[in-house]
């Protein structure tokens, strides 16, 4: 069953396609078909956000990611608008490559380094919702692990010690990698991320980034619907 805020039935979510994005169709499908949201597809050469209520930056390999992941995408015309929009309090969610782009653009703290294993990793992992004040995770049970896939070569979240403790004390961590039972430990950390961090938000709590792919866990067809609860957080976010 899909719970909706009736007054938000008109909400519009924009999904950006960069050259090399390859999860754009997946997130559009999940938002449109699994969650029945209105989706506007935005092109990297556009400089108009078309009045959307939130912007999603999808996964993939923008511009091939031959430099650092996300390093070139941040300079595209649409990103100029996204940066302005975010600085004005607009709601933005970056998934995987989208998270990397938001970090490169300075909208989110930290850096995503090569995985500790130096290898690309694609598998199901478990996430524990953390932040009680960031709207995207605030409504999720912070004791129950969600099964969500990862697929990245550079997802090892790094932040200097002082900034890391500030991030934690500001309640900016939205998800941590955990095991099936919700235990956060070294063996449940797939890529070496600091404090098992899988997703964070900015100080204003309007910009969010996460490495795991909730859009890959949104239907019975895929045998996993744990991602629906995360993407539904966009409603809470827009309402907030």
């Amino acid at each position: 069953m899909i719970l909706r805020f009736p007054e938000l039935s008109k909400m519009k979510i924009g999904v950006v396609t960069f050259p090399g994005s390859n999860c754009n169709m997946d997130i559009v499908h999940a938002l449109r078909n699994n969650l029945q949201y209105e989706v506007v597809e935005l092109w990297h050469k556009d400089s108009d956000l078309q009045g959307v209520d939130a912007v999603v930056l999808p996964g993939g390999f923008s511009y091939g990611d031959y430099l650092r992941s996300g390093a070139i995408a941040r300079f595209s015309p649409i990103m100029e608008e996204v940066i302005k929009y975010a600085n004005d309090g607009g709601k933005v969610l970056g998934i995987c490559n989208g998270f990397q782009i938001l970090c490169e653009a300075g909208l989110l703290p930290g850096t995503l380094m090569h995985n500790e294993s130096r290898k690309f990793i694609c598998k199901n992992v478990y996430l524990l919702p953390v932040s009680r004040t960031a709207s995207i995770s605030a409504d999720l049970d912070d004791k129950a692990a969600l099964k969500i896939p990862i697929a990245h070569g550079e997802g090892n979240y790094f932040l200097h010690e002082a900034e890391l403790s500030e991030l934690e004390s500001n309640d900016q961590v939205i998800f941590r990698y955990c095991d099936e039972n919700g235990k956060v430990n070294n063996s449940s950390n797939p890529n070496g991320s600091a404090n098992n961090i899988a997703g964070v938000c900015n100080v204003g709590k309007n910009v969010f980034g996460m490495m795991p792919h909730p859009e890959r866990a949104c239907s019975e067809d895929l045998g996993n619907t744990d991602g629906l609860a995360i993407l539904r957080g966009l409603e809470t976010l827009i309402k907030a």
Binding site: P19, N22, F61, G64, K119, F120, I121, K123, G223
Partner: protein, 750 residues
């Protein structure tokens, strides 16, 4: 321009032989042209008549393969890949190809460009790739070079496919010393299209513009097709420039632009540039449409400034296509490519007649009749002699009684060893490096099954996909072994509930001029024909890779095991019926379907535990096999089984463990007094499936098995986690899973 003289000077027989042509072939070219070919023309013939492009030593036998079927929309040889009709207006294009020789010397780029090439074949037809599979073979796991090759190939496949964004949904990895110098890298791509939007690789309409689109042309991969058509030797590394370099980002843009183009009426024909680049695409498209072309090589966007005409013609730079554009639609085509930041440059036009003229500075540098270059036209066709090797009879003489039967206790110790062998242990080190979920169609991530199953959006259907070939069986007996490869693929498809539709094949063999190798090739074709006819799975295309062998220091050479990899597609009418292989509930009954057997021939156990390398192929009966497949599909359709998994590499014990591990269940089974315990646990007799069911479904289950004349024997039941054979406790599933999960990485020191 001094280089022009060299390009247009008459060629010599010595030059021709250097480029792989025989004296007879050189004479034929002189006869066709009525003169001595110039250097550039000779280069064109050398690549087009190479084994890789012409299939000159295989086509006679390939033509005997079954290629007709009810679902065929595009048959073998007609286009870049075959297409089957899925109904609902949806077609499925699929093909498998090898990239063995490049991978042998530059594993990363070799494997990456293999992935790029096969996907290009699919989207060139207007189909969006939705799934990939691959089949990899390497040498001795303990040899340091094996680790280097494995790491390079897996990273190459991963980096290219992950960025390009098509999930890997299945595959196989196999080790044997015969692949030491010459690994096999076979990649398959599967795409979906609207049946009204199929793009043909045919040039038509004199006056129509011919465009080159995508990447610039550079000096990489020059003569790759010729390189693929000779033995790998110690000097092969000198051929390094023959290996191309891949750019998945360009390919992604090229795909999106091409698929956008497919929705318009601007395209007359389109072909990707793979082997032999501009030469192959212009001649094949012209020959297919009975037209000629004028091509201006100095209009081709180049990566390097100083390229000779023959280099431009033979370059195998990746991520390029040739497009013939409908009159008046040039702007539309250019705008679409511009949107995706790609070149679309007119380099010539279609002409009347059969001649392709290649110009530089308005001077003809080469003039060749298109039809004389291509397979089915003037390219040579050879009949090769073949003879049964002496060792075939030796293998057949193997007597299983010569292998002492271990005690139960000893056999169960062996069971733990077998699940750690790199051919059997978990390959998660490999497949976790591939994005298996992008596209959100892969149903097998959370429902492991014998074949990969993907959803077909816009319908209730699913596609079941698999690649299979146990080359040890083919080495033991080419005809039976190849029939087994087809049967195993069909069994895997059937165990998901799907019905096999068609196959694509990748035929990896040694040197065709070796009569014993050719005997293997002929046997494989015969076995494949027999099995494909039985399962009603026509061959839609694929490729042949000869010259897979290692030149030894003493002047002799060792061929790889004959490896006819089968890529099969099946249709699941209602994907909600998709059957997985994992045990679901403690207490459910475990049944063995098919004839019980203790045949140990050519098993992993016999080859790598006992150490007997020569024995016949495992027991196999095509008629019983088909009955079994019909039976399992009916059982699944009627919801009478809760899990299904075929018995293959490693035998029954491995099969049961694989069913236990996803949910950490176990099994308690009883063996058969009549059968030797090692054969019961580790034998690889074909035509067998393990299923689970609930007690209340037993009667209906037996009715269906009886009606299909398929034997069903109760082995035991699913446990909470304990693994027990004949009341002997082997261990807990979690313990055995730790062995199974780590065996591969430990064996290869990864």
């Amino acid at each position: 321009m001094p280089t022009m003289t060299a390009s247009t000077a008459p060629s010599t027989l010595i030059q021709a032989q250097d480029m792989g042509l025989t004296p007879d072939e050189f004479k034929s070219i002189e006869k066709i042209l009525g003169r001595v070919p110039n250097f550039t023309e000779m280069c064109i013939y050398s690549v087009m008549w190479s084994e890789h492009c012409s299939y000159k030593n295989s086509i006679k036998w390939l033509k005997t393969l079954p290629k007709d079927g009810d679902q065929m929309l595009v048959k073998a040889g007609e286009e870049n890949a075959g297409i089957i009709d899925l109904g609902d207006g949806i077609g499925c294009a699929f093909k498998i190809e090898s990239h063995n020789h490049p991978s042998a010397i530059e594993p990363y780029q070799g494997a990456a460009t293999g992935v790029g090439g096969i996907n290009r074949d699919i989207f060139t037809m207007g189909a969006r790739p939705i799934a990939q599979l691959n089949s990899l073979r390497f040498g001795d796991p303990e040899h340091p070079r094996t680790k280097w090759l494995l790491e390079g190939v897996v990273k190459g496949i991963g980096d290219y496919g992950n960025s390009f964004g098509i999930p890997v949904v299945g595959g196989e990895v196999f080790f044997d010393p015969c692949y030491q110098v010459n690994p096999l890298v076979n990649a398959m791509s599967v795409g979906l299209l609207d049946v009204n939007e199929i793009i043909s690789a045919t040039a038509k309409g004199p006056g129509n513009a011919v465009y080159i689109v995508g990447s610039d042309t550079g000096k990489d991969g020059i003569q790759g097709a010729s390189f693929a058509s000779k033995d790998i030797t110690a000097e092969s590394a000198d051929d390094l420039p023959s290996v191309q370099v891949g750019d998945p980002f360009q390919e992604k843009l090229l795909m999106e632009a091409s698929l956008e183009l497919a929705k318009t009426d601007a395209i007359i024909g389109m072909q990707d540039m793979g082997a032999a680049g501009i030469t192959c695409s212009t001649s094949e498209m012209s020959a297919a449409g009975n037209v000629g072309m004028d091509i201006y090589l100095d209009r081709v966007p180049l990566r390097q400034a100083d390229m000779e005409p023959f280099e431009i013609l033979l370059s195998e730079s990746q991520e390029r296509m040739l497009v013939v554009v409908a009159p008046g639609k040039e702007k539309l085509v250019e705008d679409i490519f511009k949107k995706w930041d790609l070149h679309a440059v007119p380099i010539g036009e279609v002409t009347e007649g059969d001649t392709i003229n290649f110009f530089v500075a308005n001077e003809i540098v080469a003039q060749v009749p298109a039809s004389t270059l291509v397979l089915g036209g003037g390219a040579p066709v050879y009949e090769r002699e073949y003879s049964e090797p002496s060792w075939f009879a030796e293998s057949q003489a193997f007597n299983p009684d010569s292998v002492a039967v271990p005690s139960l206790k000893k056999a169960l110790e062996i069971a733990t060893d077998i699940i750690c062998l790199p051919n059997i242990a978990s390959k998660k080190w490999v497949w976790e490096q591939y994005d298996s979920m992008v596209g959100t169609l892969n149903r097998t991530t959370n429902r492991p099954s014998d074949a990969g199953v993907v959803s077909v959006r816009g319908s209730k259907k699913g596609l079941a996909l698999t690649v299979d070939c146990n080359s040890r069986y083919v080495q033991a007996d080419p005809e039976v072994g190849t029939a087994i490869a087809v049967a195993e693929a069909a069994r895997n498809i059937s165990c998901t509930g799907a019905t096999p539709s068609a196959i694509t094949n990748c035929l990896n063999f040694g040197n065709p001029y070796n009569t014993e190798v050719y005997w293997q090739f002929v046997g494989a074709i015969k076995g494949m024909t027999r099995a494909c006819e039985k399962f009603k799975t026509p061959v839609t295309g694929g490729n042949v890779s000869f010259y897979n062998q290692t030149a030894n220091e003493d002047g002799t050479s060792t061929s790889v095991f004959p490896t006819p990899t089968i890529g099969m597609v099946g249709i699941l009418q209602d994907r909600d019926k998709h059957m997985s292989l994992d045990f679901k509930e403690k207490g459910e009954l475990i049944f063995h379907l098919g004839e019980m057997s203790d045949c140990i021939n050519s098993s992993e156990y016999l080859a790598n535990i006992v150490g007997v390398k020569q024995s016949p192929a495992p027991k196999f009966n095509l008629t019983q096999e088909e009955a079994l497949h019909v039976c399992i599909r009916e059982l699944i359709a009627k919801n009478l089984v809760t899990a299904a998994h075929d018995i293959s590499d490693g035998g029954l014990f491995t099969t049961l463990l694989e069913m236990s591990m996803p949910n950490l269940f176990g099994f308690d089974i009883v063996s058969d007094d009549e059968l030797r315990i090692d054969g019961f646990l580790f034998g690889e007799a074909q035509g067998r499936i393990i299923v689970t069911l609930t007690e209340e479904d037993q009667d209906d289950f037996f009715d269906i098995c009886d009606a299909n004349k398929v034997g069903a024997v109760l082995l035991g039941h699913v446990t909470k986690g304990k693994i027990v054979v004949d009341e002997e406790h082997v261990g807990f599933c979690s313990e055995l899973r730790a062995y199974y999960d780590n065996g591969f990485e430990e064996a290869l020191d990864l």
